[in-house]
């Protein structure tokens, strides 16, 4: 038995199985995961690791374990999508920690969160003065959502009754020196238009461009491979570590 070869093959099986299964489960981001989801992720990863390196047992039972856990996660996702009550039962509910500017001590105790941790979470939200908080809610993913008192909330164009233009998502027109023809077509533009725009920016060919995007107002953003900066800011403290 060539253990190296067996581990390699089992590693490939575990890696792509995990990839396919996680794609099947959806694109939930790590920051959106609840504590339970987080533990599930660790458990599934652990089974995949065991599948790869534990040669004292067959790969098949581990793979079935992986399938069972993934199916269970999918089932819970499916059920919680259909039942709000079950979703709240399984994933918990947000907890109000500050209401109308007052700290809810009982709720803090209930979820075993110290005042220091609450202050830390507030600072992460850019709040250093408790006096400006109207509501603070601990979400089921462990993040704190904060609503500032109206007098401290940022002014928006709507507050000032200013008209605004529609702003949507930019479209990539050139990536890595290659023109994305499909996106040009979708924006009802052509290569001649693009060449004209590049010429006006003194760019000879798309090959010089790393990324070019077009926003909904028709503004073209272009980033060249050759950055035209005279001095670059160096954040490193150590010259020898690059």
């Amino acid at each position: 038995m060539n253990e190296g070869v067996v581990v390699f093959v089992r590693g490939i099986i575990a890696f792509f199985t995990l990839h396919i299964f996680t794609r099947f489960l959806g694109k939930q981001q790590v920051s959106q995961l609840s504590f339970f989801d987080y533990i599930l992720g660790i458990s599934i990863g652990s089974i995949a690791a065991t599948l790869t390196t534990d040669l004292s047992s067959r790969a098949w039972p581990h793979w079935i374990g992986l399938l069972t856990w993934t199916s269970a996660v999918w089932l819970v996702q499916w059920l919680t999508m259909r039942s709000r009550a079950l979703n709240k039962y399984l994933n918990g509910e947000p907890v109000i920690l500050i209401m109308n500017g007052q700290i809810m001590e009982d709720n803090l105790k209930k979820i075993r969160l110290t005042m220091d941790e609450l202050l830390l979470q507030l600072r992460h939200n850019g709040i250093f003065d408790l006096g400006i908080v109207e509501f603070a809610i601990l979400e089921t993913n462990g993040k704190l959502s904060v609503l500032k008192k109206s007098q401290f909330a940022p002014v928006t164009p709507a507050d000032l009754q200013l008209p605004t233009k529609y702003k949507g998502i930019s479209t990539e027109l050139i990536y890595d020196g290659i023109v994305i023809e499909e996106n040009l077509e979708r924006m009802k533009l052509d290569r001649a238009w693009l060449d004209k725009q590049l010429k006006s920016m003194k760019i000879k060919s798309p090959g010089e461009i790393f990324l070019a995007t077009l926003d909904t107002e028709g503004q073209l953003y272009v980033d060249l491979y050759k950055d035209r900066l005279k001095t670059l800011t160096d954040l490193s403290d150590y010259q020898n570590i690059k």
Binding site: V6, R10, I20, F24, L55, S56, R58, A59, W60, W63
Partner: protein
């Protein structure tokens, strides 16, 4: 056209990959039991049993060598779908049996042969 391609890439390809993995993980058992490609090993068990019972030691020696050759041929295809401990156990039993045959000890050889047959039956299960 792009819908078909999308369906092939997002559904059919992952399904085929998973199917391939299932086949690899169970290949040993499938080869061992379904296709009968390794029937020479069980045949060798029978021939060994007969020669040991009749104390025909040179024949037992020959069939044991045959068994070892067949096992070596089979091992590369089995290794992805069976436990390392099962393989080790089979090989250790083979080694002990070799010793018993060299010592011309009937009882010990039969004990090891039975153990070998049992390990073979459980292999990949």
């Amino acid at each position: 056209m792009s819908n078909i391609l999308h369906f092939l890439l997002s559904k059919v390809l992952p399904a085929l990959v998973l199917l391939l993995f299932i086949v690899i993980m169970n290949s040993g058992t499938v080869f061992k039991e379904t296709f009968g490609l390794n029937r020479r090993i069980p045949e060798n068990f029978v021939l060994l049993q007969l020669s040991i019972s009749n104390e025909e030691w040179s024949a037992a020696d020959y069939y044991l060598k045959e068994l070892k050759t067949e096992w070596k041929k089979l091992l590369p295809s089995l290794q992805f779908s069976v436990e390392r401990d099962e393989i080790n156990h089979f090989q250790q039993t083979l080694a002990r049996m070799t010793g018993f045959i060299e010592a011309r000890e009937k009882a010990g050889t039969l004990v090891e042969l039975r153990a070998l047959e049992e390990t073979w039956r459980d292999l990949g299960r």
